[in-house]
Symmetry: C2
Subunit: 415 residues, 2 copies
DNA sequence: TCTATTTTTTCGAGCCTCGAAAAAACACTG
DNA sequence: CAGTGTTTTTTCGAGGCTCGAAAAAATAGA
């Protein structure tokens, strides 16, 4: 069962709260931090003075704008960019990218690389990931000592401990424990995340007003993915990254899905499915491996022009997404939705049928109030989410325990 | 955002841990509690001595069995049955029941009553609930002062704050704030729970080995309901009790559901749907209001005898449940399932088609390892769950803060 | 320069948990 | 039956943490 609270946990947790308050607010004063955390001014003062001593926070004498008030001006506190750095690695179809992000969240270096992920061997794939990380770590401008975390996001299913890729559409390989591999290779804590989950994390940082405690990020791409935040927490399955919205069943025994099964939402709404329907191929036709963004754009253009099979294909996609969302809403209640990925640019073609379908489901009672946002470019989102997830780890697990907390970590390992 | 930890929270939380350790373990010694909570012996000793002083725990000199060891014998600690009492009220179709449960979890009194919920007016329905509670509270054997919580479970949708029934199949009335009504009437904290959620809570208390952190309880009755526990927490929707598994879409535009929509899982697997299919009525036929348990048993008997429309009706039910579970498993990964309710007695007729359907879904890869338990009688489960939920509230919210904690509660109200 | 105002730090009080040692309560042994 | 060993529980002082109140610091306005 859950464990009792030790006395030393208290400081650790409150330090964590202060750090995350600073990360969220940007340049808050001690007074503002006290207000948002509910802790007393004296406690905040003590914690902040520790954190500054440890070079985690910096005083940014940010009197500038706000000095309209009388009284002693507030001193803004900021994250010290040099306190740490993290690496965000994103592996997607035929594409590998890495970014080095400082502790304040700014990108300080990046590198991108085209690969042929579908045909690479297991060792080649791992080798490329290790190599791109190594090149960044060998950058003379980077203090390797400061790199505190590597986060790797991949399209596909990861395990719930965020250690391994279990399955991915971008490679025939399965069960690659990327997190363990990178940790062993570089001696830096690493984590393996699902791409759609990272999209959701990033959306929350980008627009916390809209994407607060409960929302859905759906990736409309070659396949269909989902990142789900419920009650302020990233939702994951019990064993895997979960949230395989694309493989909920839309029509039992229906169209052939890339996963080999039939009737999945993806088999109607994935790019290959839209392509297949637009071409008026059989629902049993083998899904094509890839459809270029240009081809999809052409398809969408044609659908907008004439009421032919292309438009019908998008309609079917909308219907599948709508009934899928309806079933999802039956479970979790309606929530704001972000449509991400190339096909989000064609959401105008998808939306009517989608809304019509939702209206026929349990979520339908609020179908008018459900709002959709679109964001055609998923890669920056995934990278941002990755970076925030990694920085969050540094905040909570490395800096919150503090210097003597390290002995605490060791004790935990021993126990 | 989440709030910092005050110093006084520490004691409150650790008291809560001790209380829940005792509730779980039955008669643990101080040493055992120290082991399960991870707190030091001295802390446990201090907390226990407080709790005994406050008559929340009792020392039960339970040397009896375990005195095979040398050394000072352990002193068992138990919950003091007289420390408090709770009321568990269960409102289901044409049936209202209440039980008084002491702090140790034993039923000390109960009352049941037949009603005609479908035709009762709003005031009559509320009146019956208030009256049955009042009769229990007026029982001279009961110390009214000790009643610390009323939990009311109802078939249907409740709100996520557990205050009101939003919609229920047992009555045409909607939006009844039962929790507020009972609180105002009796001045006792009350809560409004969903019946299936309470089933899940009870299952976990009954068999914590099987129903630990992730599992599903499905009610097979006139309608189809679900209680879901994920990561050790009862899963609820963002606005409502959520988990409306029965209204996930099985076949878009399909059979007419009791909710007025089409193609819901329930429209194939609810008693009325099985009845409708067994009678070979149209899928558009209006759902009947109720099918007696005897009729359903006769249906099942006939389905076991001959391969006619009855058997086919159960097959369709299994198929709908299977594809529904498959979609659910796509979202949360497979988990143990308990089939509860009268139709669980016919699970032998449902299971083959259910497993066949699951095998065609994303959850299918583990379809062999998914295990189903059946429990035909839902009412005792719901009442148990209600009682545990109420007792848990008393543990966490009343006894954990302790005597001076009450000022804390007041301060919270003010803030 | 003085005053009012707001932010931040300082300081002592009050709790809480912990480890070590002591006390308690028994079984076993000769 | 007294002495010894063992295990559980309590006691006690040390060390931390947060809090409120008061003091100090830093500025705008008069």
């Amino acid at each position: 069962m859950s464990v009792g609270i030790r006395h030393d946990d208290l400081r650790r947790r409150n330090r964590a709260m202060v750090i995350s308050a600073v990360r969220r607010a940007g340049q808050p004063s001690r007074t503002e931090i006290a207000a948002t955390t509910g802790l007393s001014h004296s406690t905040i003062s003590a914690i902040c003075s520790d954190l500054i001593q440890e070079s985690i926070l910096t005083e940014s004498r940010a009197s500038e704008a706000v000095s309209l008030k009388r009284g002693r001006p507030q001193v803004g506190l900021g994250l010290n960019p040099e306190a740490a750095a993290v690496l965000a690695v994103v592996l997607s179809l035929n594409f590998l990218s890495v970014a080095v992000i400082d502790y304040a969240g700014q990108v300080v270096a990046e590198e991108q690389r085209r690969l042929d992920t579908l045909t690479m061997s297991r060792d080649e794939l791992i080798g490329e990931c290790v190599a791109i990380v190594r090149r960044r770590l060998e950058d003379p401008d980077l203090d390797v000592q400061s790199v505190a975390r590597i986060a790797l996001a991949i399209q596909g299913i990861t395990d719930s401990h965020a250690r391994a890729m279990l399955w991915s559409p971008i490679t025939p390989q399965t069960n690659i424990a990327f997190a363990d591999i990178l940790e062993r290779e570089f001696g830096i804590p690493a984590i393996m995340e699902n791409d759609c989950n990272m999209m959701a994390v990033a959306l929350r940082w980008r627009d916390p007003d809209r994407y607060r405690n409960d929302f859905i990020a759906i990736l409309l791409s070659h396949g269909i993915g989902m990142g789900l935040v419920l009650k302020g927490e990233l939702f994951t399955g019990t064993h895997s990254s979960g949230g395989e919205f694309g493989h909920m069943i839309h029509r039992p025994g229906g169209a052939l899905c890339r996963c080999g099964r039939r009737g999945c939402v993806e088999a109607y709404a994935g790019n290959y499915a839209i392509w297949r329907n637009a071409r008026q191929l059989s629902e049993n036709a083998e899904p094509v491996a890839d459809v270029s963004d240009a081809d999809m754009r052409a398809l969408a253009a044609r659908a907008r022009e004439t009421d032919g099979p292309e438009r019908e294909a998008y309609r079917k996609a909308g219907e599948a997404l709508g009934f899928g969302l309806g079933s999802l809403f039956a479970l979790i209640d309606p929530a704001p939705v972000a449509m991400v990925g190339a096909s989000a640019a064609a959401f105008d073609l998808i939306e009517p049928a989608l809304r019509e379908a939702i209206a026929q489901t349990a979520g339908g009672q609020h179908s008018g109030s459900i709002s959709f946002d679109t964001e055609p470019n998923e890669l920056p989102l995934i990278r941002e989410g990755c970076a925030m997830q990694a920085l969050n780890f540094v905040d909570q697990e490395i800096f919150a325990p503090g210097a003597q907390g390290k002995s605490g970590t060791i004790r935990k390992d021993v126990a």
